[in-house]
């Protein structure tokens, strides 16, 4: 009888664990800490800050190796400044959200990984490159998140930016560089 009780308790504990795990993902009780802002505004991305200085679009993009990368859409380069706070800030994911709610991750061909962290008092400025369909242009939201796919309890900075003009000239993104404070 005692063994049966122990077995039932073990099953109950495992079942409850699976249920809680599923419930937390299906009906999350936690969410990211989102701060919003506009172009030219330093937005808190704990423990640091992020600022969008502007954005531009072009029909073609020349990568850091000098190769022109084709696309059926357009390339959008977002000029950002990332600054650490009391400690370094890390960005796990840069995304661009269009008015329809579609989320585009930064293109791996644009060197976004070079803008993934910044030290205190050392602003890092560079352009993050996105590849989007032409109909995504207009009002966009740049999102920087300190966590990846699961951003719950992470910090997110969501900054509005508008991009409408598309340059016919091939675009080269500004590579990250340290900026004077």
């Amino acid at each position: 009888m005692r063994r049966l009780v122990v077995a039932l308790l073990a099953v109950a504990v495992l079942g409850a664990g699976l249920l809680v795990d599923h419930a937390e993902r299906a009906w999350p009780s936690t969410r990211p800490f989102v701060r919003t802002g506009t172009v030219g505004e330093e937005v808190r991305l704990w423990p640091g800050w992020v600022e969008v200085r502007g954005a531009r679009a072009a029909n073609s993009y020349v990568d850091p190796y000098g190769d022109e990368i084709p696309t059926d859409g357009v390339w959008v380069a977002v000029d950002v400044v990332l600054t650490g706070g009391r400690e370094p800030v890390g960005v796990a994911q840069w995304t661009l959200e269009d008015a329809a709610g579609r989320r585009f991750q930064a293109s791996e061909r644009g060197g976004a990984y070079l803008m993934d962290s910044a030290q205190p008092e050392s602003p890092l400025r560079g352009e993050i490159v996105f590849e989007v369909p032409r109909d995504a242009l207009g009002r966009l939201v740049v999102r920087a998140g300190t966590r990846g796919a699961d951003d719950r309890l992470g910090a997110v900075a969501a900054i509005d930016v508008t991009v409408e003009e598309v340059s016919q000239r091939p675009m080269t993104a500004e590579q990250p560089r340290w900026e004077e404070r």
Binding site: P70, D72, G73, R102, R103, F104, V132, P133
Partner: protein, 213 residues
């Protein structure tokens, strides 16, 4: 007088105690078998044939729409990357579009070639693609952005090019994107066959592929 514990009553008790685990085990087996039967575990399974899907027609695979186009067997592209024992690449060309409103890095398990056509990976006669390449510029493991369908090449090493039939029947696989707590990221899991597609042979891949790989 001898040992009183060997009397008839204590002996019966000892036998009963010894039987308890056996009775418990038998009861557990009976209970499990009964539960399996009640849940339909012993029902006769109807054999179903995989639906045939035409090449060139888009197939909705959940977070992506996949259109299998054609295939080629080539020994003049990426030849330096052929593994030992391989003489050529089987290249399956597909158009893939992310339809879930988010950028995807689509898994290599989208197409499964028939057994015997490609070089096995250990015991696996139908391994996932060795390489996944964006046809437009040769990018490996490409990102797929919503609203921007891309042509993608899936590559498997082939030991003998003659083993690949001109009309190649492949399985289309559908996977689920699930969050992995261990890697703290979304991962593709449990690829399952969804349809059979017969792919025609295409001797040439698009020009950009010829130039970029």
């Amino acid at each position: 007088m001898g040992d009183s514990s060997l009397g008839p009553r204590p002996l019966l008790g000892a036998l009963r105690r010894r039987r308890r685990p056996i009775v418990g085990a038998v009861a557990a087996v009976v209970a499990c078998t009964g539960a399996t039967a009640l849940l339909g575990g012993f029902d006769t399974v109807e054999t179903t044939t995989m639906p045939q899907w035409p090449a060139g027609e888009p197939l909705d695979l959940g977070p992506a729409e996949v259109t299998l186009l054609d295939h080629a067997v080539r020994d003049d592209v990426l030849a330096d990357y052929l593994p030992d024992g391989a003489a050529a690449w089987l290249i399956v060309r597909a158009r893939v579009e992310a339809t879930d409103g988010e950028t995807l890095t689509y898994p290599p398990e989208v197409v499964s070639p028939p057994e015997g056509a490609v070089l096995p990976d250990g015991e696996d006669a139908q391994p996932s693609a060795d390489r996944v390449i964006l046809l437009s510029d040769g990018t490996a493991r490409p990102q797929l952005h919503p609203g921007l369908p891309e042509e993608v090449a899936y590559l498997w090493p082939v030991a003998e090019p003659g083993d690949v039939p001109a009309e190649l029947q492949v399985e289309v696989l559908v996977s689920r994107l699930e969050f992995s707590a261990s890697s703290q990221d979304d991962v593709w899991r449990t690829p399952q066959p969804a349809a059979d597609v017969i792919l025609p042979r295409n001797a040439q891949m698009p020009g950009t592929f010829e130039d970029t790989v």
